[in-house]
Symmetry: C2
Subunit: 411 residues, 2 copies
Amino acid sequence: MAKNKIDINMSRLKAAFEVSSKIGATEKNGLTRLTLTEEDRKIRDIFVQWLKEEGLSVRIDDVGNIYGKREGRNKNAKSIMIGSHLDTQPRGGRFDGVLGVLSSLEVIRTLNENNIVTERPIEIVNFTNEEGERFTPPMIGSGVATGNYTKEFAYGLRDKNGVSFEEALNEIGYNGQEENRLSNVEYFVELHIEQGPLLEKNRKEIGIVKGVKGMTRFEVTVTGHASHGAHPAYGRKDALVAASKMVLAIDEVTKSYEDLSTTVGVFEVFPSVVNIFAGEVRFTFDVRHLDDQIRNRVISNIKENLKRISEESEVVCSIKQTWNIDGTHFSTELTGLILEETNKLNYSHQYIVSGAGHDAKFMNDICKTAMIFTPSANGFSHCEEEYTSYEDIQKATTLLLNVVMELANKV
Amino acid sequence: MAKNKIDINMSRLKAAFEVSSKIGATEKNGLTRLTLTEEDRKIRDIFVQWLKEEGLSVRIDDVGNIYGKREGRNKNAKSIMIGSHLDTQPRGGRFDGVLGVLSSLEVIRTLNENNIVTERPIEIVNFTNEEGERFTPPMIGSGVATGNYTKEFAYGLRDKNGVSFEEALNEIGYNGQEENRLSNVEYFVELHIEQGPLLEKNRKEIGIVKGVKGMTRFEVTVTGHASHGAHPAYGRKDALVAASKMVLAIDEVTKSYEDLSTTVGVFEVFPSVVNIFAGEVRFTFDVRHLDDQIRNRVISNIKENLKRISEESEVVCSIKQTWNIDGTHFSTELTGLILEETNKLNYSHQYIVSGAGHDAKFMNDICKTAMIFTPSANGFSHCEEEYTSYEDIQKATTLLLNVVMELANKV
């Protein structure tokens, strides 16, 4: 088969990473490249230049998504789309979404230098604001492109300085046309770092992602009564002691179900001064699981626990749901094909359920979608220590190339 | 006995409270009257005026302590000192130290209007900066007057705006002479609100304070590793989960010893954002008990627990001791006398060990000292809800009067 005869060029891919890793670089090897900032503009300009050098036709849509299309032999065939996002968290990592974009570029470059003609067109994409840090919620580019969000919703989002998404888009010169949005896509494959420790722990080279956990997020306020530390142990309504029990109850529940995770994120104590025990604690928690039924059962269980703890601790607890997104099941046709190609390449692998949202989550609504994960050292992500070895990147990119070639000729 | 024939004037005492409660009043019936501020100056000026109206000789010492002396018949006899402090916490209560000063004033007024001549002189005192909120540490006025702190140490303290204690003292015109410091004092009796729930819970009218708990304070840093909430439950080093276990271990230990209290005060979580679990938690805790041996045993126990939790949670924990003050045992001669007078008045009572520091703590170093506590509604203090009924205040002030009259004739 043709695809076994060609190889990606790892030094070329490294060189692309070296360029990307300098734009928004932090002191400790991370990246701060928030969406629609000057840093984002710089990497976009370079990316567009690279696409043009490969002879792709480049389009920018009305939320700044960048597409580069490599035509296929069959003019009626739907595209295979590959890619991810080039924006990062503040002091985030160099790999995260960048890997998905640069590996896709390497796939295109490899096909080009080997003069491979495919049946289907292949499109590469860089989605706007996957991270959602500057403009919340995340995955705005893919959300609008797939009809999950309206353009008006996206344009009206404001960052903490009051700048709107639309203003920021115009400011960096990436406000394109609505008619440039993606269409006629049959498959979407996104390569991404795992953002978890499982592949490393299990010594697997490839993660085949079955889906994305659904997530429900809550805000909790625990109200006790602050008083002087001179107050005897008896009769205190210490909001921190109660909230600590809640944190442990929320953590403990993860032991009951496989692939369940919970996270207490924001955690604020009032008044938080040395001599006074806490009168109020506000915290957020989320519950993530692929299976919506299991997730809802766990949420009921947590709510009951929080209620019981409040009563026992004589504090008042309010729980407000702030976000819900159901579990996403990726295309079994695609995960099956990825498994086949992984086996042909003799890479060790395992199935994974992603805990994080990804552009693939929205793409799954409009086309057959799956993801490939590479190992993340220590499971770290969204931090400067985020790391994936070039050895692992080489394997994953080779797999992506082979998957793309298989799909590109399957009409 | 003469002392049974005279009564305090409750409407006069109420009127004094009404004056005090307006100076630094907060919207919700509390007081913000930080030491050496303009509000403090106002109440001091009024207090000095009241002392002068009672014919007392007024002195101001070099840390702003105000003394008013009522001479006794016996010129060689040492004084009985009574009083407390007029400063408050930010959004603190109307009673706290104010009760000790105004009840003492009422004792003097009652003696005067009944033309009672005592053997010993009686001195009333208002100590500077008992609260220690604007200038840390607390109890600076009594600390310098009793030789626990030097004047230089006090003068060099600075508030958060960089203003020194000495500048603030000069600014409000209360920088007096070193030779005016207290001397020749035999007894010190301080009336104060309980700042705890025991008297109310046990339906007792009077608390006879046996001593002040010793206190040791620590700063703890728990270092795990922050990462994205997408990280599976497995392999997390969540600093908040570990710290929550520590909070509960520190709280749990109070069940093993009577009159033991522990407080986690400051509690800060990093980064405290919705999508990331905690990489670091910093918190303070203190351990309070009258018996130094018990306190030290409890501290060892807590340290072992924190170490065990760190190991089990795979986080790093550093513990730094920042403050230690041993337990204070008040004069049994004085607590015995207070008990006798309480019984004569048929007031219900119980012994109490104070969890908070008080000026009496330092006074105990230089003279026979004890304290009388009144009930605090719900045990609240250092907050606007702090409340003690006038009924309870009347009983405690009557007791104080009788104790003073007993001591004043006992030479």
